[in-house]
Symmetry: C2
Subunit: 388 residues, 2 copies
């Protein structure tokens, strides 16, 4: 049987593949130190579903998402991030920000178009671009934002950034964002800004791209209730853009998704402030934990790309002789520690691994880091032995 050439050319999400390996090991009764998940665990009570409107919760709802939820999210963007958002025309809520990003790519890309993706690049951006028949152009991690123009060609349609950044934890500065918008205006590009980790900062240093483009002429913003509210598995994300973009995403959403899960949207809309009040201090605690993990890495002599936010660290495995995938497979199989191979984040990133600190106790985390250090040394020694 013949299958789609686009699908054959796309790669499995390496983070999900490793996490499925973890699920299998756990089902077999193994105690895995899980540093590979794309989420943070919170202590979050379950509020009453009985207070939600029973006549509505089972049914389809507006294909932009229920207005109450859009209004709450728009209010947050306006108040907290100084981005004016009209919840009626400039926002669409759907089944996760992943789906929102893909539909935005579908909206703006034609076959053969190019999208610049600074590496390390979140694993699904390049695959989504490829599934649209367009070309993801990975920009090596050592190229800074102010040099991205060197990669712009007549076929470039968009640049995707992630701020705060998964997996480095880096927050794009106001100067970088203003430069990107200036470049977008000059070269007629879209800047897609994935802001799913906007709450995961140690201070209020996060700046939304939308702040510098209030009319959203060149920017498309994504955010997620999943990450910021500690409910990754509920699959509720949203896109903020100009009405002409949103209307096209809406058309796609109607054919692919219909609407996000109605009952969960009503739940989040009703308990929005209470959920945030519970998760915010826990988010700060996770970011603080991340800071302490960096100290532990410093003590071990493991380096990492700079960043202060999120619950991820992109750590170097140098001087290991292993590629990141072989490294992670051995780490998981021999030492029951799961991290994500850097190669999943771009060709320039094979010397790195992603460590997630959101789901594991500090004690277990430190033992996991020690195991990483040991494997680096063991495989570096092997390297020297082989070279000799």
């Amino acid at each position: 049987m013949r299958f789609s050439s686009l699908v054959e050319a796309s790669c499995e999400a390496v983070s999900i593949r490793y996490n499925n390996k973890v699920y299998e090991l756990q089902r077999q009764g193994h105690d895995v130190t899980v540093l590979s998940l794309g989420e943070a665990f919170f202590d979050l009570p379950l509020f009453s579903f009985d207070l939600l409107p029973l006549e509505k919760i089972y049914h389809y709802s507006h294909s932009r998402g229920i207005l109450e939820l859009r209004a709450a999210l728009a209010h947050t963007y306006a108040e907290k991030y100084q981005v004016p958002v009209d919840p009626v025309s400039e926002m669409l809520v759907t089944a996760g920000s992943k789906a929102a990003i893909h539909m935005a790519f579908m909206t703006i890309l034609d076959r053969g178009d190019e999208v610049l993706i600074p590496e390390p690049a979140w694993v699904s951006y390049p695959e989504q671009v490829k599934l649209c028949g367009a070309r993801p152009i990975g920009v090596p991690y050592w190229i800074d934002t102010f040099h991205l123009e060197e990669f712009v060609t007549p076929r470039t349609r968009a640049i995707v950034i992630n701020t705060p950044h998964n997996p480095t934890g880096r927050i794009y500065s106001a100067a970088e964002l203003e430069y990107l918008l200036e470049l977008a205006r000059r070269r007629d590009l879209w800047i897609l800004s994935d802001e799913a980790y906007s709450e995961f900062t140690a201070d209020d240093s996060f700046v939304s791209l939308g702040r510098f483009d209030p009319h959203k002429k060149h920017s498309i913003l994504f955010n997620s209730i999943s990450k910021n509210h500690g409910i990754s598995g509920w699959r509720i994300g949203y896109v903020i853009a100009a009405p002409e973009v949103i209307n096209r995403v809406l058309k796609i959403n109607q054919h692919l998704i219909t609407c996000p899960p109605t009952i969960l949207c009503h739940y989040v809309a009703r308990y929005y402030d209470r959920i945030l009040a519970i998760t915010r201090p826990q988010i700060r605690a996770v970011v603080e934990k991340r800071r302490r993990v960096l100290q532990h890495l410093d003590a071990l002599g493991i380096t990492y790309l700079p960043g202060t936010a999120t619950f991820y660290i992109f750590a170097s495995i140098a001087p290991s002789a292993l590629g990141s995938e072989a490294f992670c497979t051995r780490l998981l199989e021999e030492r029951l520690v799961s991290v994500v191979p850097g190669i999943g984040y771009g060709a320039s990133c094979d010397g790195f691994i992603r460590i997630g600190v959101g789901t594991t106790s500090m004690e277990k985390l430190c033992r996991g880091l020690d195991a990483i250090k040991e494997l680096i040394e063991e495989t570096a020694a092997l390297n020297r032995a082989q070279a000799a």
Copy 2:
């Protein structure tokens, strides 16, 4: 700004567009007789969420859907429809069967491929095919299944059927399904069978395509928890296919959706039998109501395409001089009755409207049908007057 040519070429889902008009009218306080919804309303209690595993419900889950739910669904397919399904390798649960169908199209279609879609065709099939860069070939409603081969070309990759059928309520016979599979083997095609309304029958006359293709060599099946369990807004659907198909859908699902909403999957898995026990008699009542609506249409002299299942009727508006879209707009604006224009279901269907009987009382329904009859007569008279 330039947008994707595929998205520019795709059409808004006409059913959703009309339903959004209904929502707007209702918000303005109008009492609309709603015969346009793609769902049936049930009297369904909300079971306790507190009994679900709190340590799991907030988080990502397996990107095929949780195994407990897959096992329950596979069991139903085996027991009730005589289709053996391995829940581990032959099934994937995602955010609605709509998303599942789109990802299956992505899996099998290359640019320029053709997909045969018998009309009336559910509104999203052709648009999904177009969004994959392939060509939907609508087959006029008067062509029967045994003559579909006339439309097969070297570019044809698949035929999509919907059984029980939205909007006619027709159930494909065993002979038709066996013929389609024979055609598929002979011409190297996939048969996609959307079985989302499998429970919506007056008797046990539904036959799954999978029954005649136990190894799923040419068939891909879709079903939905939404429709059969009365929870359309929860967006949980699934695909059954050979492992080599499922593995490719999985890869796409990982990049577009990640997983269906975990908390709702646990809810449905836990209360599966109880939900079905409550909805099944109500489903039978809806199908019986549909039968009585047909009697009312007979009495009014309104004809319709043959069918015994679902909660839809595809009724003729002949001899109205109006196209179906103009007809539906006037019906909604002048008489506050919403139905869906037939043109949304294919070029051959402009003389029809879709009537949904799943959400309105019999009394209101009959008044709605009377309004339809009046508008047909009024616009037929206009026709004669203009012709004179």
